[in-house]
């Protein structure tokens, strides 16, 4: 009887990895096909300027989608990301205008993002609200608070402080700084999700919450932190956006949750929780970005763009299910 696990390891490895590889590389292949397609139709797509521009656009969605990945893996959803982005940016803008050091204002903005995320987490864990309901409510509450605070007007006059300007518009060895931020965030979150015990617990909660609880996983604590991460990353995306626009817009981030969720799904993370990869989400965000950028270059109207994006999501999920 082949009950000795180590002995049969070799033969099993081959078949296993092959299937695993297809699952992992599926989104990447889709991205490559898309890039080839777009660059044939519009040669200017592959120009360095355009690629840099594309990645800069992608970075904001990617950051939010990274946080969304953690949330969706636990079996939840965070609809409030766009509103968290707007509220934390507005408060940061207000602080900068009132003379607080921009660096401190940015740090406080990140803390605000974390706290708003934890509020979502508390509603979901202690308040036992369904994540969809809880974050649907806070989405409008945070948006409302932003409008109240800004009186519906953009906050401008954010000054010329180097570090603040650098966040959205700077270059680091020729690479737009938002891209650098996104890659650093990716590296940290990759470690957190796939290499650290925190990530293992996040995955286990999504896989089976009851069994995880009985195995000693502190469900509430982990969930608070997961929603906190989502809030923090939304605030970080907000800082980049505010810096790029040089103003905090009260309507900033509206419907950003859509692209974020789409990126997560395109990246192969299961909406029912328990399975997901942060690398997939990065690819998913690049697919969304390439679509937006490519369709723009091709002169497709933004009205049609929305239709195409929706169709791509459906196709991607259908292909994913086939495996």
């Amino acid at each position: 009887m082949s009950n000795n696990i180590e002995h049969t390891k070799e033969q099993k490895n081959k078949g296993f990895d092959y299937k695993e590889m297809i699952t992992k590389l599926g989104p990447l292949l889709a991205l490559i096909v898309l890039i080839i397609f777009v660059s044939i139709l519009s040669p200017s797509f592959l120009s360095l300027t355009n690629l840099m521009n594309l990645m800069r656009q992608v970075s904001i969605n990617a950051l939010i989608a990274f946080g969304m990945t953690f949330v969706i893996i636990t079996g939840g959803i965070d609809l409030s990301v766009g509103s968290v982005l707007a509220l934390s940016s507005a408060l940061m803008g207000g602080m900068i205008v009132s003379g607080i050091d921009p660096i401190i204002a940015m740090i406080i903005a990140l803390i605000i993002g974390f706290v708003l995320g934890v509020v979502n987490g508390l509603l979901i864990t202690k308040g036992r609200l369904a994540p969809f309901i809880a974050t649907l409510a806070t989405m409008t509450i945070f948006r409302g608070a932003t409008l109240v605070y800004t009186d519906g007007q953009p906050i401008t006059g954010l000054g010329e402080t180097f570090i603040f300007q650098f966040m959205g518009r700077g270059y680091f060895f020729g690479i737009p700084f938002p891209i650098v931020i996104t890659l650093v965030a990716f590296a940290i979150l990759f470690m957190l999700l796939h290499k650290m015990s925190f990530g293992r617990k996040v995955l286990s909660i999504g896989g089976n919450e009851k069994a995880s609880f009985i195995s000693g996983v502190k469900i509430n604590k982990i969930k608070l932190f997961v929603y906190g991460i989502s809030g923090t990353l939304s605030a970080l995306a907000g800082i980049i956006l505010t810096s790029r626009l040089n103003s905090a817009q009260p309507t900033a981030g509206t419907s950003y949750e859509m692209d974020a969720i789409a990126s997560v799904v395109l990246g192969g993370t299961s909406m029912s929780g328990g399975k997901g990869r942060i690398f997939g989400t990065l690819i998913g965000a690049l697919i969304i970005g390439t679509l937006n950028n490519g369709l723009n270059l091709l002169g497709v109207s933004t009205f049609y763009q929305q239709i195409v994006k929706g169709i791509v999501i459906i196709i991607a999920v259908l292909l994913d299910r086939r495996k």
Binding site: L203, K210, F213, I214, S215
Partner: protein, 493 residues
């Protein structure tokens, strides 16, 4: 109706599950189908009901060859399958469930509730079942839900009903009701194929027994002409003289003690001790409160009052994670819902409670984790190709070993096992008993809840009987008998 399956063969990939099985059932009989998990029982039944197609072989109904393309087809021809995990719609009413997919409509296409109610009442009256047709099914007990399944198969005029482990989740009283209904069905000429691991039931109920082993039918016997030992031998292919391995280790100091645990309306004034190296069996009827007591000890539910004392010191437990920190492990009765993360690997399941111990700096030492999981999986003889296999691909017995491995790996000093061998085949059962003995030898204090009386008697050093949330009696291994346990369990003195 007589059904005969001849020379059925079926392979999944290279794995040949059935290698020429013959099986026959005649009207009005109860035919028990037995065999270890993986022997091919489910596959055979799935072929009979059209969910799977045989590679070779034929199915004959009343001397005519048939071929069913899907379960609906089989059901239309009078063969229905009541699965172990029932197919009910918990948010819909009894009536809606009974006619799910077979709703009766009037000539305008609207639901004809009157006619459906009338038919449902007829069937319920025949089965002598009293259920409110407008009740949501989710509010009913498992036993009642099963009655709905049986009623459903009668509504579709089934003449052969396959029941897969129908008694597994039922209380003693519900089992009695089920048996009397089965009796009624057979007098009407319905044939029952009864799949069960429970010997006592099979001997009480069945007319004939067919045993499958490794995809072959080992034999079909008249129940009256055989006995327990012969069937077990046929199932495992060897003698199981010492079915319960003997336990000889020394019993040490008191490891864990609870004093006056109470929880309003659930249990009251529970006190007991477990010594290191000791296996204490908890017996009692279903619903007596055994599981609830253990859940509260483990911090899954709150206690109203009471003390927990571990190795002489009082401890406080607020949630499972603090119980685990004190070295207490809990194998729950429902491994799929509460014990395992089914689509994660064996490795991830085994290491979950101890995952923080694998941190090297900030990251998990994956090599150490894999070695740990491999070591435990091997020690517990988990039959799998690789620790990266998903636990959902394992058989029930092997899944249970994975749950055990997780608590053994955590270094539990006190291990609570709630129905550790439920839904586990004979061979794996014995391995689990042996493992319990090994753990006891190394000084682990074991609390085992079991509803299987022979198991409680065969495994425990001491037996505590719970009746209606109170300790009704305590028996040593020497003085315990089935009669004494049942007397305490039913509230007798």
């Amino acid at each position: 109706m007589e059904v005969t399956m001849k020379g059925i063969k079926k392979s999944f990939g290279e794995n040949q599950v059935l290698r020429g099985v013959d099986f026959n059932i005649i009207a009005g009989e109860i035919h028990a189908l037995m065999g270890e998990n993986g022997a091919g029982k489910s596959t055979l039944m799935n072929i009979l009901t059209g969910l799977l197609q045989a590679d070779e072989g034929s199915i004959w109904v009343d001397n005519q060859e048939v071929k069913y393309d899907n379960p609906n087809d089989a059901e239309g021809n009078g063969i229905s399958f009541i699965h172990q995990e029932m197919n009910v719609w918990p948010d819909m009413t009894v009536l809606e469930n009974l006619f799910m997919g077979k709703e009766i409509t009037n000539k305008f296409g609207f639901l004809d509730n009157k006619k459906m109610t009338q038919q449902a009442n007829e069937v319920f009256a025949e089965l002598n079942v009293q259920l409110d047709l407008n009740e949501e099914v989710g509010r009913l007990s498992v036993g009642q839900q099963q009655m709905i399944e049986i009623a459903k198969s009668l509504l579709s005029k089934s003449e052969v009903i396959i029941m897969d482990e129908p008694s597994a989740a039922l209380t003693e009283r519900e089992i009695r009701t089920l048996f009397s209904i089965i009796d009624k069905l057979t007098t009407r000429g319905v044939a029952i194929i009864y799949i069960s691991h429970r010997m006592e039931e099979v001997f009480e109920m069945s007319n004939r027994i067919t045993v499958l082993r490794d995809g072959v039918s080992v034999g079909t016997l008249q129940t009256k002409e055989t006995n327990n030992d012969e069937i077990v031998r046929m199932m495992v292919g060897r003698d199981l003289e010492d079915y319960y391995p003997s336990k000889t280790n020394e019993i040490g100091e008191i490891a864990f003690e609870v004093q006056n645990l109470s929880k309003d309306k659930v249990f009251k004034d529970i006190s007991f001790q477990v010594r290191s190296g000791e296996i204490v069996g908890f017996s009692g009827l279903m619903g007596a409160g055994r599981t609830e007591i253990m859940r509260s000890i483990f911090g899954m539910d709150n206690l109203d009052s009471g003390k927990l004392i571990l190795e002489g010191e009082e401890i406080a437990i607020h949630n499972p994670s603090s119980a685990i920190a004190h070295g207490i492990g809990f194998l729950t009765e429902n491994r799929k819902d509460e014990g395992l993360i089914l689509d994660e690997s064996i490795r991830e399941n085994i290491s979950l409670p101890s995952i923080d111990g694998f941190n090297k700096g900030m990251v998990i030492d994956e090599k150490a984790e894999r070695e740990f999981a491999e070591l435990l999986a091997n020690r517990l003889a988990v039959r799998a190709m690789h620790v990266e296999d998903e636990v959902s691909s394992l058989s029930g017995g092997n899944q249970q070993k994975v749950v055990l491995a997780k608590w053994v790996g955590m270094g539990s000093k006190v291990l609570i096992l709630d129905e550790p061998t439920r839904g586990v085949d004979v061979g794996a059962k014995r391995e689990i008993y042996q493992l319990m003995n090994e753990l006891a030898e190394r000084g682990v204090a074991i609390i085992m809840i079991s509803s299987d009386l022979p198991e409680i008697l065969g495994v425990s050093d001491r037996i505590i009987v719970i009746h209606e949330g109170k300790v009704a009696g305590e028996l040593t291994k020497q003085e315990a008998t089935e009669e004494k346990i049942m007397m305490y369990a039913t509230g007798g003195k």
